[in-house]
Symmetry: D2
């Protein structure tokens, strides 16, 4: 079978790898659709990010849906032929954090397509995959593309939980890539009453508007528009920081009201923060990392039509155009989410 393997920056190959067979409690899957994530793009374009670097060839991909092709011993609740969303999160379920129920903090996490430990954790962009039953969430009624959105949606649902009660809150989203736009959907689903989104790209802002932002601000065109929200110590209750840019964070902090909450989603390097404002307005900066039970929650919300991710899927390409798909996904002036059909 074929897999999409990153060897180094700009060296992405479609190569043959050996198929696996499912053991007890496992499921064999034929991959349906895979979405390209920002971290995949970092490996593709730069060979990694920060201290996380490719040191050996690695199969990319962690946003995938698949069809069940075989059930290992003792697996029930799934049927051959069924579409499933496949969670890339594989906690050990026995370390101290797993025992506390903090599975996303697992000390021995094996998250698909991560170069962080060595040997790297291989990813899910391969035609055939063997997964633990616990990773597979039935996605009946969804398209394979929607099911493959379960992973980034889970990230923003988790972030929304980290932000606390949202009903009637005023929300600012800085950065309208896929995580930013899914944050808009998640915040709205959780009851936000007003959502303002900022970015530098007219394309992503138009999508932000389409999925429900009440107002979008192009910081390249209206650099001062956000300042008005900073009057009387600020307006917004919650800031989803999805840009990774210190300037966006600083601008958002000025627009947050006292006791406002910043959810930090982007994984970046060191960042310089205006501590005087954080202290004197008593803001809260909360890190948010991956997800756990929100994966299944998101599938359920999509199935009931309570969250619609379809507008985000702007490009769908076949496996043999994978390199092209990565190129398209890298251009944020045209692409939101690019997916590959396996």
């Amino acid at each position: 079978m074929k897999a999409i393997i990153a060897h180094a920056a700009k060296d992405l190959r479609i190569e043959e790898v050996v198929e696996e067979e499912p053991g007890p409690g496992e499921v064999k899957l034929a991959l349906a659709t895979g979405g390209i994530c920002g971290s995949d793009l970092h490996y593709y374009n730069h060979g990694g990010f920060g201290a996380v670097r490719l040191k050996q060839p690695m199969i990319l991909g962690h946003e995938v849906s698949a069809y069940v092709t075989a059930l290992g011993e003792g697996v029930s609740g799934l049927a051959v032929g069924q579409l499933v969303a496949v969670s890339p999160s594989r906690p050990c379920r026995s370390c101290r954090y797993c025992q506390e129920g903090l599975y996303n903090q697992c000390l021995n996490m094996r998250f698909y397509g991560s170069a962080m430990p060595f040997p790297h954790i291989q990813g899910a962009f391969r035609q055939s995959l063997v997964a633990d039953k616990l990773q597979c969430v039935p996605a009946d009624g969804l398209t394979p593309g929607e099911a493959a959105m379960a992973e980034p949606l889970a990230v923003t649902l988790h972030a929304t939980r980290r932000a606390g009660p949202m009903l009637g809150k005023r929300v600012l989203v800085t950065g309208c890539g896929p995580i930013g736009v899914l944050s808009i959907l998640s915040a709205r689903r959780a009851g936000a009453s007003e959502i303002v989104a900022t970015d530098l790209s007219a394309f992503t802002l138009s999508l932000a508007k389409q999925v429900g932002a009440d107002r979008v601000i192009n910081m390249a065109e209206e650099p001062e528009a956000l300042a008005a929200y900073g009057a009387d110590k600020g307006t917004f209750d919650v800031l989803y920081e999805c840009s990774g840019a210190a300037s966006a964070l600083a601008g958002g902090i000025a627009a947050l009201r006292p006791r406002g909450i910043i959810v930090q989603l982007g994984l970046g390097g060191d960042m310089t923060l205006p501590m005087m404002a954080i202290t004197s307005k008593e803001l809260e900066l909360r890190g948010s990392f991956r997800f756990h039970e929100e994966f299944a929650v998101g599938v359920g919300l999509m199935q009931k039509g309570l969250i619609d991710v379809k507008p985000l899927i702007t490009h769908t390409l076949p496996l043999d155009e994978a390199v092209n798909a990565f190129e398209i996904a890298s251009d944020r002036s045209k692409a939101m989410k690019a997916q590959i059909v396996f």
Copy 2:
């Protein structure tokens, strides 16, 4: 001008009362629509409830919308002719609880149409009303009927905030009168992923289903259906108790999972609770009483189309049919919310 005045049980009269004029900071209003609430019905049918009894004639009504007819000195932000939702809540803004921001706990509250203090606090079912500017929330874009729903909606939005984070939660609503059905809308708006509702009336359950309940259970027809949710210590994360019936509360408690939350909305007398289950499952029973800032939040959510209360308004009658409106509203097999046009 005319007002709807309760003199005693089953003695409701439309009588002439003197118009008032607005002072500084006040607004003169021509009433548009008034909704009949459960407490109005208690005064009408029984002369009160519990220790709260009519001791003098009292104008009923606290769910009202109105058109601005005159502005008192110093009032800005409102225009003559504008439709407003009128909050019946008038805290003193100076007692110890108001100073903490707990306005719904005001020691000197003057809530429209309440027989609790004596002399009673007169209500808002009168053709002309003078209100404080702070009570008036612009309702542009809403119908007068929708605007008059702002008050009961605020009750359930407040209850939803009392319930804590709701995203992805499983919710049970016991009792599908207007407060129960608005609880369904509020819980869904706040992100509940599954909502089950119970009642004894096929009519109210059909409305519960229509506004978004995933499943409705007629306890008269399927008395055992809820028990299945009690397996393995229970299923639901949150229970909105809107029936005031001890049996409904007990049944709901059995279906709640450990650490589940019960929001108690109904104002009733003493109730016998299964304390063993509450203690051993570590449930939380939280009282919820009226609202404060949720009044304006609800108007905003309706204006943006994020909550649609129109299906609840089943009957609209003119002022001179007010007694008939109270009779209709008393029959829960046919009416959800009956409103009077002034």
Copy 3:
């Protein structure tokens, strides 16, 4: 070896039972001291409580300290001869609640000395005991009597966590048995600024005062003293209900301020509550059940001198006077905590 076995109400026998040997991960213990708990007294005096009844002979006891006498394979971190506090809580660590970290809600809990499942879970009042390593918390520096207090202390530490932030709060404790008095110690340790305690027994109230209650009220002598705290909707932020009496709960509710929190510790039958006060003051009634990590926390707090439980240990008797110890413990006019030395 000898064990204390309840056969029926008032039929308590000291009998020979077979010693066990430790397997992998287990520890063999020579019991040091065992404290008599309220549930032990229910078995002794009444053969059970509510629906929980003795159906076969059961070794009593779950408040115990012991000396390590042998280590099973693979056990480290403990030494032969070391004093340990032994947690009676044995969750399965694999059910859905254990996987969430809610170990006290385990579906397969085997808590020492419980008649709830059948066959009953045998208790720890036996000269030799084999326990899992995870149950044993080193108690160096404590007396065996103090170490045997770790269990009831953990109950009140858990309840204090359930009550939420305590710093500067005003606290009412109704019922001054061991759990009530330990609640006073725990609330004070967590920063309560004012603690008032009520009971009907002069003896227990004198102990409550001794361990730090700012004021004690004998409800038999000053039945109206609590009412003054109910002015202006009430005074106390938190109520620990440790009496199991509906009248105490109702009196406490009247003295709680709006948004006050009731921690319900006693395991009793159905109870009639003043729901109007709960709803209109927006109180929160939170069940609290046993403990998990608080067991080790309590041992640590005692070791550092941050909580002193010694004043509660009013009686210490040898094993052959066990029946007498149960009689003494049953008389709340003279005994707080009676312990048996093994």
Copy 4:
């Protein structure tokens, strides 16, 4: 009467100013003791800090106790001759944040001795002071020096509330100036089970140890000692950052466990943070600013002997040695809190 007035950096003068008389609701006070705070030292040594600069002469001081000398019209609950702790916090009680109960976020705050608005808010280091009754908390039983510690104690009690539940938590305090040491006392009072403190000064660390830190680390002598706490993603539940040094914050972040909480107390300029660790460990950085009701709470805790601040008062000088007192207070190798007797 005399007052201590900063004219510019290193230009501190004791000058005559005019006495005021109390109006309705006000109290006339004879100052007893005043403590020198870090912000006073900034004005004295540097003429300000960050963007906050002296632009006109300003009376310093905001940590004061006083004796009541006269009562204005309508003041009850205070007696002439009584010692009071005087809160320097004077919110307007009418802006939007005051109306929410967030008095420390008042838009019109007049906090003693602040150069931030212009004209500056004059301070309390003057022999006679007229204050609002609400600022005065009876301090019977305390020494004037203790009562003057109510203000910095309130800062750390507020920070402790911002940190959330503390019972059984492991706490790190970086920076052992007066705020750091008071944080140790506050965290312990709120139930922290283990407290580690770091600083570069042997003197301040010895005081940290004396008031209850379980371990102190001199980062100048043991620069690597903190690293051991970073194993397995970290140890501490809560970090009080009281140093204002980015390196201390970074070191503390490495030692925090997942979901750990950082309370940021110091008011400094921009700071560079390790965002990768904050995001991936899902830490929370919470600003904490001044206090409100904690002022009276702290006085009460000191009166009951539940917090003892006396060890912190290392120097007490008469008014005419005020300049010397500022010099002594500036030397952290010898002084913790220097106070002036008026």
